[in-house]
């Protein structure tokens, strides 16, 4: 598409707004008093304006504008054409739209730059005009706004999904957004609005860019939620608000995708999560496409009828998105403009998140159990996997700990002489793909932490900073930039002995953190659990430190408890007891072994006494899911009252009886059971036992195992057992037969039922199903010649001749390859071979088998033996 030259070209590469020689374009309709920007060209005024906006938001609800796209389309923007290009092609129309919105009551108008990132503009061949398009947009908006409205530099998604969900790296995304932010900010917009974001990583990149390139301007970030209240990538409103709040976004909100009915709930949840201002821009309902045009059904009156609900939910800025026009804004304005915002009740406390969920840490919230097992220290195999760059053990530990009840996971991949940064990136990517609990990024390497923070979608907890000035200097800027929380170790070069000295360190570090712009509520203090066998008094100081931090700083506390028991026997009881005591002192979180059931019991019980479980609800719920084990099951004690069991026996007695019954069974019966139950591990030992007891090997095969597998076949036919059982039993039988075969062969050749050539046809490259069929047929005494997969017709015919086959079994998985079956059948007939043909495989049917004229069809591995036996009988 050819882009016409701009009407008002602006010079490229200017760094600041005040240095730009703004050349007024030949705009039409520029009314008296709305005209050129007055007195906004210096930093002081911009700062004043910014303050003005944020100050005003404290006292009144402001109005944003509505859709730009629909207004431009109504004025002739062709379908599929980039609206942003009209900043330079039809600035008069863009100006007119802005003016209509201001007239309707908008206090803030968005520049016409939703798609003006480099990547989006490149779709129209206009990437070289990025600066010009963005700056023109600000100039037009400013011309319309004068001093009656704030001009918001509008930024939409960059058009490509950001790593790890997409191919664009985080740094490249930041760069792409930075260029647009810089262009908008330098042209003099009053704030930056990042909107319609569906992925947390992308919005994080955009905010990081905005913080870097529009220093000092307020930043709004709005995400888009579907009707189920989550973003396309699974983020809920609380989590979005927490992540954006952590990044220091001034205005957090929601726009597009849904109408007001669905959006009010999102606003409410966000307002309960963050003290930042809240913005909402609903669509005019859910759209319908009529004659190629997207039509939004909700009228201005209908949208406006939700205005009060939005205000009550906590909105500070209300506007409209797709389908809304100045009429909508006018009605919304009449309802809420200038009203005092509803006071918020925000849940206080440290919050960390994954991509999908938020976890609160602090007084009154559930005690946070952070899994410690993703750590190579003292674990050779784990360290080796990391060294090889393999993440399988990391993933296994993440899964295991998540299932065991960890509420967050510490990720440490520090192995000497490895690329810790790269491994941290891969580990965080892998873990957040398969669990949805928050991560604690743990490393002594600042680079590794930064890499982890770049690929992490949520708000991470960083482990850790201490009182060493160099560590703070290196780590705090990254914590602030990526919006993380951090564990603060109350130690410098040494660990202070006394609690009061640890508190002093805490105060110093807190002061330092705040000087970097990190908020107090994003710190959690590790009060340091020392080994009780080495220094018994130290534990008391740790507990006292917890108390002091809570009392003096009001901050949450954390411990790694395992250290405390070092060097003593029965360590678990020591560190769990200590953790229980610490919870009593107000401890909020611990890095623990989540596989330790006693730890969970201690936490849930101690929480009762620490004000963390109102009405004992969590305790009761926990034991409903995890009923306490009876002390009578293991020991010899008898319960005072029998609860009854099988045949009037107590549970203990019933179990005992079952066990005895099983043990009383003969080896033959056990072999039979092992086959029926698919016991692949036990069968070989049982067969050996049977042979040692002198059972004839043929007897084992013919009179025990074969009836067993036939019995299973009957159960399969009755739909009491299913294919997974058949496969497991077939393998159990095969393993048993492998043990028996040398003994059977010693006693002479075994007569085979028949010879079958098995093959997956030419073109098909998968043969697992065919292999299972082979195993089953062998178990039933057939001679099976397995030719493998992708087998040409001539090889099948050759094998059939050489082995004097009774049957040819063919498997095919694809519609393109199944016709090879007919090729084989035709060739068999043509050459007059006496063998029959049986077919099977994913795409084959009985009808197809009949159509191509083969002799048998096996619908799955369950009936291959039966069909084959029937064929041989005919």
């Amino acid at each position: 598409m050819k882009i016409p030259p701009p009407l008002s070209p602006l010079p490229q590469g200017e760094g600041r707004y005040e240095s730009l020689p703004i050349i007024p374009p030949p705009l039409t309709g520029g009314g008296e008093g709305e005209g050129e920007r007055r007195g906004f060209s210096d930093e002081m005024e911009r700062h004043h304006n910014m303050q003005n906006l944020l100050q005003r938001l404290k006292h009144e609800v402001l109005l944003l504008d509505g859709s730009m796209g629909v207004m431009l389309q109504n004025r002739g923007l062709p379908p599929g054409y980039a609206p942003d290009l009209w900043n330079i092609e039809r600035p008069d129309i863009v100006l007119e739209v802005h003016r209509e919105y201001i007239k309707a009551g908008s206090d803030i108008i968005l520049t016409n730059t939703f798609g003006s990132t480099r990547l989006r503009l490149s779709e129209y061949g206009a990437e070289n005009r990025l600066r010009e398009i963005n700056q023109e947009a600000v100039r037009i908006a400013r011309k319309a706004a004068g001093d009656r409205a704030f001009v918001a530099g509008d930024i939409g998604p960059c058009g490509v999904t950001v790593h790890p969900l997409g191919e664009l790296s985080f740094d490249d995304a930041v760069d792409i957004f930075s260029r647009q932010v810089e262009a908008l900010a330098s042209a003099g917009c009053d704030l930056i609005v990042i909107e319609t974001m569906f992925d947390l990583i992308e919005v994080r990149a955009a905010v990081v860019a905005a913080k870097m390139s529009a220093k000092g301007l307020p930043i709004a970030a709005l995400m888009t939620f579907t009707q189920d209240g989550r973003t396309d990538t699974g983020t809920d409103p609380e989590t979005a608000a927490t992540v954006l709040d952590g990044l220091g976004v001034d205005i957090i909100g929601v726009n597009c995708s849904t109408g007001p009915a669905e959006m009010v709930g999102v606003v409410k949840k966000m307002a309960q999560t963050t003290n930042s201002f809240i913005c909402a821009q609903p669509n005019a309902g859910l759209p319908t496409n009529v004659g190629g045009k997207t039509v939004f059904p909700a009228s201005a009156e209908e949208i406006a009828s939700y205005a009060e609900q939005f205000a009550e939910a906590g909105v500070n800025i209300l506007g409209g998105c797709c389908g809304t026009t100045p009429d909508y804004i006018k009605l919304l304005s009449q309802k809420v403009k200038g009203k005092r915002p509803v006071p918020k009740t925000v849940s206080e406390g440290l919050k960390i998140t994954s991509r999908a969920k938020t976890v609160y840490i602090g007084r009154g919230f559930p005690f946070l159990k952070i899994g410690e097992k993703i750590n190579p220290t003292g674990r050779k195999a784990f360290a080796e996997a990391i060294r090889e760059g393999r993440m399988d053990m990391v993933v296994a530990e993440a899964r295991g700990q998540n299932e065991a009840g960890a509420m967050a996971l510490d990720v440490n991949v520090g192995v000497p002489m490895t690329d810790e940064s790269g491994n941290m990136g891969r580990a965080v990517e892998s873990v957040q793909t398969i669990v949805d609990i928050p991560l604690v990024i743990d490393s002594s390497s600042v680079e590794a932490i930064e890499r982890g923070l770049k690929v992490y979608a949520g708000k991470a907890l960083v482990n850790s900073v201490n009182a060493e000035p160099e560590r703070m200097e290196k780590l705090f800027p990254g914590i602030k930039k990526y919006g993380a929380a951090v564990i603060v170790l109350l130690a410098g070069n040494e660990i202070p002995e006394k609690a009061i000295d640890r508190l002093k360190i805490a105060e110093d570090i807190l002061k330092q953190a705040m000087s970097y712009g990190i908020r107090k509520e994003d710190l959690i203090f590790d009060c340091l659990a020392l080994t009780v066998s080495a220094a018994q008094e130290a534990s008391a100081q740790t507990l006292e430190t917890i108390r002091l931090i809570k009392e003096k700083l009001g901050c949450p506390t954390i411990l790694g408890v395992s250290n405390v028991s070092f060097g003593l026997p029965n360590r678990k009881i020591i560190h769990n007891t200590f953790m229980g005591m610490a919870i009593g002192y107000g401890l909020d979180a611990a890095i623990v072994n989540p596989y330790d059931a006693d730890m969970h019991n201690v936490v849930i019980a101690a929480s009762l006494f620490a004000g963390r479980d109102t009405g004992c609800r969590r305790y009761i719920a926990f034991y409903e899911i995890n009923p306490p084990k009876s002390p009578f099951r293991k020991g010899g004690l008898l319960p005072p009252f029998s609860t009854g069991g099988e045949g009037g026996l107590s549970t203990g007695e019933a179990e005992k009886k079952k066990k005895v019954t099983r043990e009383e069974k003969s080896t033959s019966e056990k072999i039979f059971d092992a086959i029926v139950e698919g016991d692949r591990d036990g069968i070989m030992m049982l067969v050996k036992e049977g042979l040692e007891e002198g059972i004839d090997p043929r007897d084992i095969f013919l009179n025990i195992m074969t009836p067993a597998i036939r019995h299973l076949g009957d159960l399969f036919a009755e739909r009491k057992k299913f294919i997974p059982h058949l496969v497991a039993s077939a393998e159990a039988m095969k393993r048993g037969v492998d043990v028996l075969t040398p003994f059977i062969e010693k006693r002479g050749a075994v007569e085979k039922k028949g010879t079958i050539i098995m093959a997956t046809v030419r073109g098909d490259i998968h043969d697992l199903g065919k292999n299972i069929c082979c195993m089953m047929l062998k178990n039933f005494g057939f001679e099976v010649i397995d030719l493998g997969k992708n087998v040409p017709c001539e090889d099948i015919l050759h094998a059939a001749k050489v082995h004097d086959a009774d049957i040819i079994g063919l498997s095919a998985l694809m519609t393109t390859t199944m016709m090879q079956m007919k090729v084989v059948r035709d060739a068999v007939r043509e050459q007059g071979l006496p063998c029959k043909i049986i077919i099977g495989g994913a795409v084959t049917t009985k009808r197809f088998a009949d159509e191509i004229g083969v002799d048998g069809y096996s619908k799955d591995v369950g009936d291959v033996v039966h069909v084959t036996e029937e064929l041989l009988r005919k």
């Binding site: 399988d392 073109g763 998968h766």
Partner: protein, 215 residues
């Protein structure tokens, strides 16, 4: 705004969970929803192991692209990029009320296929369980992309049709060549053999139509 119109959207590291219930259905075990309900502990344990192994091996990826429908004929549906892709009566029936069609390709990667090959040398049962977990998860990735697409489709005022794949009905598997080309499937490591079989094996390709609402 149609996010994927005229350009390929590529997704990597698609988050996932493996539901026991879905795996049991894929294994054709009816009625039960949890492995705990399987009487034979060794079988339940092996399926559980297959699920855990799959967590370490699956790399969910997808690519998709949306096309404007140019014309609906009696035997085919035309898009600017191809006259020969959307052919057959079933395809016409699927897309006749649609303005757009999205082609998608998803995969769970090649590591799991290699693992199945490796395991099948020692235990066909374990290989079979992992194979079925993989089959479900390839479908899961397609469902995931389908749900992402659905919000885009509905957000633009349309209804999604069901997912339709080459090789079904009268849509020949030979269409795979064009599907791979138009979605740039090689970017997620998916290619096809001469028989149009996708490599890696646990990959899914399909079309979803953007249907005009009737009301």
């Amino acid at each position: 705004m149609i996010k994927s119109r005229g350009k390929v959207i590529v997704l990597h590291n698609i988050p996932f969970t493996i539901e026991e219930k879905k795996v049991l259905r894929e294994l054709r075990i009816p009625k039960i929803d949890s492995l705990k309900e399987i009487k034979e502990e060794n079988i339940a344990g092996s399926i559980k192991n297959a699920i855990e192994m799959a967590y370490s091996l699956i790399k969910g990826k997808a690519c998709y692209r949306t096309f404007k429908i140019k014309e609906v004929m009696t035997d085919r549906v035309l898009i600017a990029e191809s006259d020969s892709l959307f052919v057959g009566r079933n395809m016409v029936r699927l897309l006749k009320n649609c303005d757009y069609a999205t082609l998608l390709v998803c995969t769970i990667g090649s590591s799991i296929v290699e693992k199945i090959e490796e395991i099948s040398k020692t235990s066909l049962t374990n290989a079979y369980y992992l194979d079925r977990v993989s089959a479900w998860m390839a479908d899961y990735m397609a469902e995931h992309v389908g749900s992402v697409l659905e919000s885009d489709i509905r957000g633009n005022g349309y209804e999604p049709t069901f997912r339709y794949a080459a090789g079904y009905g009268d849509w020949a598997l030979a269409a795979q060549g064009e599907i791979m080309r138009l979605t740039e499937a090689k970017r997620i490591g998916v290619s096809i053999t001469e028989s149009f079989i996708m490599i890696p094996r646990f990959s899914v390709s399909a079309v979803i139509g953007w249907e005009r609402k009737t009301k």
